[in-house]
């Protein structure tokens, strides 16, 4: 299971501290959402896989936990978000678009190059059946932000939970892909997978469904790594070991 964290400068803990804590808590990997926190891993558009010793690899070696370089695109509108997706798609393993606005939510679910639409219900953002179908067709994962469940209180938490329930009903009905995260901004906000599952279960989520959402981060990372590896030509076509004979 993976957790997607906000590392310094976006949060109060560095990527290394997040990785160390997550390893102790039993996660298999962390996705670092903050672009400035770690260098992009390995090959972009053909820079070769040879001389790669990026931050992510070094952290993986140090703490024995997978570290994924990601980016969160927080744009004002669909046009600038589209430009940013084009820029970062080639050098980041996981590309997320921050929702929270109807235009951005719509853009994110209709763009197959986006991996995850994060925090879709924040602010004025809303979700409906049209977006859910688009997300399913384009393979864009919708994030369930459990941050308010762990850290908010009172009316704010009630509204966030109501939004989560609405989102859950729509997303499960259309079987759109989903991811789950507590959006920790420091190692103190990180929670072990069993706690995340238990808390989500207490507010009506299905335990196995939540675990699936935590694992989905790892699946996205693995898929994108394979796509970016040199052997990959297009889906279903890869350069195999028969090359040398021919």
């Amino acid at each position: 299971m993976y957790e997607a964290v906000h590392a310094r400068p976006d949060g109060d803990a560095t990527a290394a501290r997040h990785a160390a804590t997550a390893a102790r808590y039993g996660y298999e990997g962390v996705v670092v959402r903050t672009r400035e926190a770690i260098d992009p891993a390995g090959a972009g558009g053909g820079a070769g896989t040879g001389g790669r010793s990026s931050d992510a690899d070094a952290l993986r070696e140090e703490y024995g936990i997978d570290v994924v370089d990601a980016v969160e695109i927080d744009a004002d509108g669909a046009t600038s978000a589209s430009g940013a997706v084009g820029n970062y798609r080639s050098d980041r393993t996981v590309v997320c678009v921050v929702g929270g606005d109807d235009g951005l939510n719509r853009f994110a679910v209709e763009e197959p190059r986006v991996d995850v639409l994060v925090r879709p219900m924040d602010g004025s953002g809303d979700f409906n059946h049209v977006l859910a179908k688009a997300a399913r067709d384009n393979g864009v994962h919708v994030e369930f932000d459990l941050g308010p469940l762990f850290r908010a209180t009172g009316g704010k938490r009630v509204r966030a939970l109501a939004d989560l329930r609405k989102l859950r009903e729509i997303v499960t009905y259309y079987d759109a892909p989903h991811v789950v995260s507590a959006n920790p901004r420091s190692h103190l906000e990180l929670r072990a997978p069993r706690e995340v599952v238990a808390a989500a279960e207490a507010v009506g989520f299905d335990a196995e469904w939540v675990r699936e959402g935590l694992r989905a981060w790892g699946e996205i990372a693995a898929r994108n790594r394979e796509r970016r590896s040199e052997a990959f030509i297009e889906p279903g076509v890869r350069r195999g070991r028969y090359e040398e004979d021919g």
Partner: protein, 159 residues
């Protein structure tokens, strides 16, 4: 009052809880118990909170690290775990919290899960983000003091 016959006594589970804070936080036993009950009240409501019980049996904290034993009713362990996860701050100090394990007796809980503090913490200067800064060092963890409070770093960042 006379003891209940054995089959009527409530059955308990004991949760070993690990706590982590910034080094300057001072957590008290009462404050932690209050935070626990508030979290339970907010998440489970009065009824669920009464069912789960969640009494603090032992508590210790110092230098940004602590541990506690929380008693919960048998059969409400998942609720208890959810509530413990939802304790995000105690007296405005943010806390990192996790359930280390669950036992059927206090003694087993203590023997198996307690007393593994991550070593002593010391204060020294470390190189962090191109400057010498004062930090509290505990094992691999480095809590670095910056202008706007502490930053959680690790040995990896300061070497």
């Amino acid at each position: 009052m006379k003891h209940l016959p054995k089959h009527l006594r409530p059955r308990w589970r004991y949760l070993a809880v690990g706590i982590e804070t910034w080094p300057d936080a001072a957590l008290g036993r009462r404050a932690f118990q209050r935070a626990l009950w508030y979290a339970a009240g907010n998440l489970l409501g009065d009824a669920g909170s009464a069912d789960a019980d969640l009494t603090l049996l032992s508590f210790s904290h110092g230098d940004g690290e602590g541990e506690a034993i929380v008693r919960a009713r048998h059969g409400h362990v998942d609720d208890a775990r959810a509530v413990i996860g939802c304790v995000s701050e105690v007296d405005d100090d943010p806390v990192g919290i996790r359930v280390r394990g669950i036992s059927g007796t206090v003694r087993a809980c203590e023997e198996r899960y307690m007393g593994r503090a991550g070593g002593t913490s010391t204060q020294r200067d470390v190189a962090f983000e191109g400057a010498e800064r004062s930090a509290v060092v505990r094992g691999d963890a480095r809590d670095v003091r910056t202008g706007s409070g502490y930053v959680g770093a690790a040995a990896f960042d300061t070497e």
